[in-house]
């Protein structure tokens, strides 16, 4: 048992933190979100040059073959600095899925992702399915390839993606398959919009979209396990992002309590507010612990243990994120409501996380089912 980071890991964390401080201040983020859904290809290229975009890509495809702990450290920094670029959706979720699907087409895609010129997004959830795996998008065999029809909703990073990794059922077959579909393919329609935390998402409709045979990644009907595995990697990364935001919101609130004066003293001298901050800290420490656990367990071979750890992590992250976000705003008083202060942005980002990959109730139920 060991909770220490390696020297390389510490170095990675520092590097990303420094990058965020230097290139990604509050001002440039604010400028970006004046044009909703906007992200910077410049920032993306820099992250690619630093090797961060290819963090989870195998060395053979030009990546640096990092693991969940490295991802956690990077996401901590992105959560604290509220990165708007589609890192989580492309460099974590889609990359993890491609890696687990395997095969030459996926390898080729991974290589193009690593250099930062190409982006991908997983298009899995469907209208009305809520947080459940309910795939009704249909793939039919056609001459020299496949024809896909269906709809995908709230595809995070969908607008930025050059390739959509679309889950579908093959007509007459069992199980879920994944198809790599260029966003420019005929019959693909994207409706882009910003999410409540100014990242981008898209609703996608597929109308008789024709793709070649090699668009099918991994075995036909064999994508459920790769998808589950990649989702857990993405979930761990999301937890780490949330913990980064929580820490920053906590620090901002602490600073505000120390400096804001009312009734002739810093409001941090009021015991009721001190205890609120203490509870926020307790929530934060518990969340941090669960982000650690999620990173350590998201690739665990024992599916039952992994399910428990991942759902437990999402529950704690959800509840801690909610408490810290709400109380950070509350303790800032009127200023907490102002878009001008970062604390309102952390509130939005933490709320967005609650609505991603299953909310607290969803995972509380999954956990209960896994421990029964």
């Amino acid at each position: 048992m060991d909770f220490e980071f390696t020297e390389d890991q510490n170095l990675l964390a520092e590097t990303v933190q420094k990058f965020m401080a230097a290139r990604y201040g509050s001002e440039s983020r604010r400028a970006a979100h004046k044009t909703p859904g906007t992200w910077s290809r410049d920032v993306w290229r820099t992250l690619a040059e630093m090797g961060i975009v290819g963090l989870l890509v195998p060395a053979e495809q030009g990546g640096i073959d990092g693991g969940p702990v490295e991802t956690m450290l990077v996401m901590n920094a992105f959560g604290a600095g509220m990165l708007l670029e589609p890192y989580w959706s492309s460099a974590v979720f889609a990359t993890a899925l491609l890696r687990r699907l395997g095969g030459p087409a996926a390898a080729k895609l991974l290589a193009s992702l690593a250099v930062g010129e190409h982006l991908a997004a997983v298009a899995h959830a469907e209208p009305g399915a809520r947080y459940d795996d309910r795939v009704q998008t249909l793939a039919r065999k056609a001459a020299g390839g496949w024809t896909l029809s269906g709809a995908k909703s709230v595809v995070i990073g969908g607008g930025a993606a050059d390739t959509l990794l679309v889950t579908a059922r093959v007509q007459g077959g069992d199980g879920v398959s994944v198809f790599a579909i260029p966003r420019t393919a005929e019959g693909v329609r994207l409706r882009e919009y910003p999410t409540i935390d100014w990242r981008g998402a898209a609703d996608v409709t597929l109308e008789d979209v024709r793709v070649k045979s090699e668009a099918l990644l991994g075995g036909e009907g064999a994508a459920q396990k790769p998808l589950d595995d990649a989702q857990d990697v993405a979930l761990a990364a999301l937890c780490a992002d949330a913990v980064g935001s929580m820490k920053a919101a906590l620090e901002a609130t602490g600073k505000y309590l120390q400096t804001r004066e009312q009734f002739g003293q810093p409001i941090g001298k009021f015991q009721a507010l001190q205890h609120r901050m203490a509870d926020m800290l307790i929530h934060f420490e518990q969340a941090k612990s669960m982000a650690y656990l999620a990173a350590m367990q998201c690739e665990a071979p024992d599916a039952g243990e992994r399910r428990k750890a991942m759902s437990a992590a999402k529950v704690v992250i959800g509840q801690s994120g909610r408490y810290i976000a709400q109380q950070a705003v509350q303790l800032h008083g009127g200023m907490g409501m102002a878009d001008e202060l970062d604390v309102s942005h952390y509130f939005r980002r933490l709320t967005a996380h609650e609505l991603t990959l299953g909310d607290t109730d969803h995972h509380l139920e999954k956990f209960a089912a896994a421990t029964r």
Binding site: P36, R191, I196, D203, D339, E340, F347
Partner: protein, 398 residues
Amino acid sequence: MEIAFTAEEQAFQDDVRRFLARELPADIRDKVYNARHLDRDEYVRWQKILHAKGWGAPAWPVEFGGPGWSAIQQHIFDEEMALAGAPRTVPFGPKMVAPVIMKFGSPEQQKRFLPRIIAMDDWWCQGYSEAGSGSDLASLKTRAVRDGDHYIVSGQKTWTTLAQYANWIFCLVRTRPDGKAQAGISFLLIDMKTPGVSVHPIITLDGAHEVNETWFDDVRVPVSNLVGEENKGWTYAKFLLGHERTNIAGIGASKRELQRLKKIASTETRNGKPLLDDPHFASRVAQVEIDLMALEVTNLRVLSAERSRRDPGAVSSILKIKGSEIQQTISELAMLAAGPYALADVRQARDAGGAQGLLGPAHATPLAATYFNLRKTTIYGGSNEIQRNIIAHMILGL
């Protein structure tokens, strides 16, 4: 003891319902039902309809144009308005500055301002808070220096709600810089078209422009716009605070929003069943519905005590705390009910012409913004922390 309304109260309720069914414009009602922001004109249009009926200011004495209703009638009216989807009363004119003018203003001020308030010919806003003085209101710094028949006002007010629509503002200003903080404050009415007044938008958590900073740069205000006596403004502010707290619990609006939540939760599905039938979610909805039931009875107890002229105590702090918490909980549950669809940002969805452009249901888009917006309810009007202080000191004697 009797929970049911009397025959007279029921008849009144029927009257109000009939009026609302007939007179509330459908376009306004739909906006309220879907938690969309109203325009200035929509507020004014509705107020003029109410005023034409003689119901423009339910709490005002008959002599100033009020309908002469009892506390329970006012309660029934407020609740029916909210349930029917009528716009909330913009409180700054009829509920805030008007009672002060009635009680402390000169006959000239009463004659000049009150008829324009009830007809909404003027839109008022409130100049209390400053950047440095939130909960500690008495530390305010905006100065008013006497210069002949005028005060010269300089300073900045913040959180001036809907100041962008307003042509008048009532302000607490410092007219004596030394001595006890509370003792040097005056209550001033300022025409916002006066040179030197400027309004600067504040964008809030929900992305909306609802509040502002209002700056005063050597603004000349006639001394005739002083309410009551110079340096007595703190007394008037406290009177105002204690006076107009009806409907502070917001029962009617919460009931309407609860219905909306249930509608959403019966449309959305979980594990193939309506979300409202999911044991988890059902119990969360049940919990807030129960809390609201209890608060409704608590509110009625206060009304009943007011009617029998017994002091309900600092119990309005209780109504404020629970009322705001319930509002927040309902809005949060509605957002959670919509699930991933609530991730879409409302402004963009609106730009795309409502939610039609997206795959999700139409009800989903404004939910996160409403949840964000209502975080203000535990902060404004005396934060819930301040309310707990009040309860501890005034009721519990701690």
